[in-house]
Amino acid sequence: MPAVVHAQPPPRPPTERAEILERLGVASLQRRDYGEAARYFRAAIAAGRDHWQIRQNLGFALLSLDRCEEAVNELEVSVRQSPAPRSFIYLARCYERLKKPGVAIHWLQQTLVRLRELPPAEQKDVYGSLGYLYAAEGQNAAAAEAWEHALALSYDPEIALRLGRAQRLLGDTSRARQTLTGIAPERLSPASRAVRLDELAELFRAEGRPTDSIAALEEANALEPSAHRHYALGLAFRDLKRYQEAVDQLERAHALAPDDLGYAVALGYAYKDAGRLADAARVFETVLARDPDRLPLYQELGYIYAALSDTPRAVEWFKKAIDNAPRDPRPESDRAEERTRLQQEVARLDKRFEATAYLTYRSSARQPSTGSGGAVGGTLPSQSGVEVAYQPPVIGFRDERIFQVFARLLWSFRPESLEVDDDSLQAGVGLRYKPLRAQNLFLSAERLFAIGKNASDDWLLRALYSWEHHPLLGKPDWSHWNYTTVFADVGYFVERSLWVLYGEARQGVTFRIANQVLLTPHVVVDTRYQDSRGPSDSFVEGGGGVSLRYLFSESRYEGYRGSVELLIQYKAGEFFNRPRAASDGSFHGLVLTGVLRF
């Protein structure tokens, strides 16, 4: 039996084998068997068949398998051999998935150069993708342009929605409205329908139609509830001063996204608006614990605790706000102004004692025997005096209401001298209370003790009011500023049933002649009226003068705690039916006053 020889088919030439492998790869691609396709294409390349198309196909297979790192290697080889626009698109998709959107934009921009080589559907896809990528970069104009091109190729409600948003962000509200209202909502997904309503709500808000804005947001929230929509609703209700609804919405936003500190801050302000100060404080403190760089909240907490009459905490937060000054990015003038204001808050809240002493010299015996000590003298006619006031803790300062205990000693000088007139010595001890938050009105009850024989033993009930146009120090960058003060004092001596009124007004300009030295030329008018039963004078006087004030004892948290003031005034006036006056009742002369405040 002859031996049978099974002849082996001759091996195929390499080129033919490679071509077959490539065809198998293409067939696998058509079957969407990308793994198999990639294996065949790689084998074909290894077998010597290497050209741009096989690299493109291999790149596409790998892209479909989400093996983008490998895909870009193949696609980059492909585009080096032949710059085919479809390879650019694949590269863009790969880089988008590799979180390199900047490179994806580059490849899509390359595609635009040869866009006509692609069918319209792919052209639209290129423009659509480019729009998304531009929008993510914040380039809304470029995004809008790309999406307009996409829509020109064929209408797509999802792209139109993005275009409308880009137009709104670009400030083109009329075109945005046109684009957004032109979309048939039923052609959008539920999520996109909600986004469309969000956009319309923003447009309504910009147009000053808050109610329509709220309606749109509520509809959006019904479609797809989200923290952001609750937040937007909360802000809209706040704008309308519907504080309880604002709180409800912002509480929901905060509950859904507790890590979003922006929502928490908005909730804190909503609580504050609604009068829920303790809740506001709690939220703000939580925010600051997580983000200490939210500087406005420090003083906000100071004011909230002051309003809650928790003075120690208020002082603590105001002091922290003062300590933040070096981190405050605002201009130095704004920071200094705020620092001064905060220091005044701390000084008011943290005050325990204050002392005032004044001393007045009048050049003429015919002048009235009153000084210019403001509240220290007031209804009691005295040329000089000392007062010490004590503001007790807890009850001393509660939500801008102030309670103080004070004691004072007043006296006058003998005419045209600085010799104390012992007969004029007057002592007093009393309580005073500031009942109004915003107005500087004090009510006081004081027991007067006569030390000199011309003094009184009596009860004095007083109401004192003062107002000034600018704070003492003006603004830090001002060289000069307006100076207006008004002081009014009404007193009733109970045992003698005697009414006394005293008032003074000054108008001038304050010049900062050095950091701690203020010079204030001014005009002054003051008047005193006393029921005829009393022994003192009733008069009106006016004149001009200067005040030179030196500030001292600066503290980090309270600013300047002390000042010395020299008042030089020349006044002329007239008594009301007083025998001491000249025959015509008039008087005039120099008035020198020194005031120490500490």
Partner: protein, 339 residues
């Protein structure tokens, strides 16, 4: 033609070709101009001899410029100071002295906050406040350093330690805060030593398109008087690929040229490992580093690219892989290139 003669011709041709190759090899291949030094607590215990050994290797590599990445890291200072916790043997003075001796220049980094990346990804209003705090801190460090650095002829300028990338600053308010921060800090440190230049570095995650990246840096350099823009090539950290890096390098160069500033490219000579527990890296293969250097040199200013970092990844002090990279570089770029 007899076989022997044929072999001779082939031999001659080979000689000619190898001669050609030799002359090609002698065309100056670009070198690294210098390196960053990233100071850590460990450097606080280095003796002067340790620093001399390192600088000996730097000299072998013909490094001419040192960038000390920071002199304060959080609360740790690398110079003598009472304001922060200084390391046992503060190395800054030694670095400057050795650079003086070896004819190198030193750019001195200011303060760095390790929480920078988390802090700048917050509400822009908070970022503004945070940057103001950084400014104050770096200014005070620069003031502290002036008496020390001005004793050394090697001192060239300041390095602002915050690295600027293209993902964080898209919000216009945050961007404006950044520009203001860099502007203020650059102005104030320049006032301390007017002849000292100011540098800041940046990189791209390829989050923005090259043109957008370039426009961002153009605006930044127009807003802040920064002299040197240092662009990290991002190859070692995987932020960039060699295939698209030239797009960003070109954009960076355009920004520098438009604003009249200097561009210096930072070549990452490491390969970051995929480790979720933190940053880990090994020395990169020389072939890749060589391609990076060649590319970086095309875009860097005359002084050439700078490595990140030779002390960590490219000296025999850091193990066999680093030694291999060192030796390959010396063979290719130092001994093959006459000074």
């Amino acid at each position: 033609m007899p076989a022997r003669r044929l072999r001779l011709w082939i031999g001659l041709a080979a000689v000619a070709l190898s001669g050609g190759a030799a002359s090609l090899a002698q065309t100056p291949l670009p070198r690294l101009h210098g390196t960053f030094i990233q100071l850590s607590q460990a450097h606080g215990s280095w003796s002067e001899d340790s620093w001399r050994r390192l600088f000996g290797y730097l000299a072998q590599l013909r490094a001419l410029e040192i960038v000390v990445q920071w002199t304060v890291y959080d609360d740790v200072a690398f110079y003598p100071t009472a304001r922060y916790t200084q390391v046992a043997q503060p190395p800054l003075e030694t670095i400057l002295t050795l650079a003086d001796e070896l004819g190198m220049t030193v750019r001195v980094g200011l303060a760095h906050d390790s929480a920078f990346w988390s802090k700048v990804n917050r509400d822009p209003a908070s970022v503004v406040v945070y940057l103001r705090g950084l400014q104050t801190r770096s200014e005070s460090v620069a003031r502290d350093l002036v008496p020390l650095v001005q004793r050394h002829r090697s001192f060239r300028g300041w390095y602002i330690t915050e690295e600027i990338e293209d993902a964080t600053w898209k919000d216009p308010r945050a961007r404006s805060a950044l520009f203001e921060y860099l502007g203020r800090l650059a102005v104030s440190v320049r006032a301390l030593k007017p002849e000292a230049s100011v540098a800041v570095s940046g990189f791209s995650n390829a989050e923005s398109a090259p043109a957008t990246f370039g426009a961002f840096w153009t605006s930044l350099l127009q807003a802040a008087p920064i002299d040197v823009m240092m662009f990290q090539d991002g190859i070692g950290a995987g932020k960039q690929r060699l295939s698209f890096l030239p797009l960003y390098l070109a954009a960076a160069r355009e920004a520098a040229q438009t604003t009249g500033r200097e561009l210096q490219v930072i070549v990452e000579v490491f390969q970051q490992l995929n480790d979720p527990t933190g940053f880990k890296a090994v020395p990169a293969p020389f072939e890749r580093v060589a391609r990076q250097i060649d590319l970086a040199s095309t875009y860097s200013a005359a002084r050439g690219p700078i490595a990140f970092s030779i002390p960590d990844y490219m000296t025999p002090l850091r193990g066999p892989d680093a030694e291999r990279l060192f030796q390959a570089y010396v063979r290719s770029r130092v001994t093959a290139k006459p000074d």
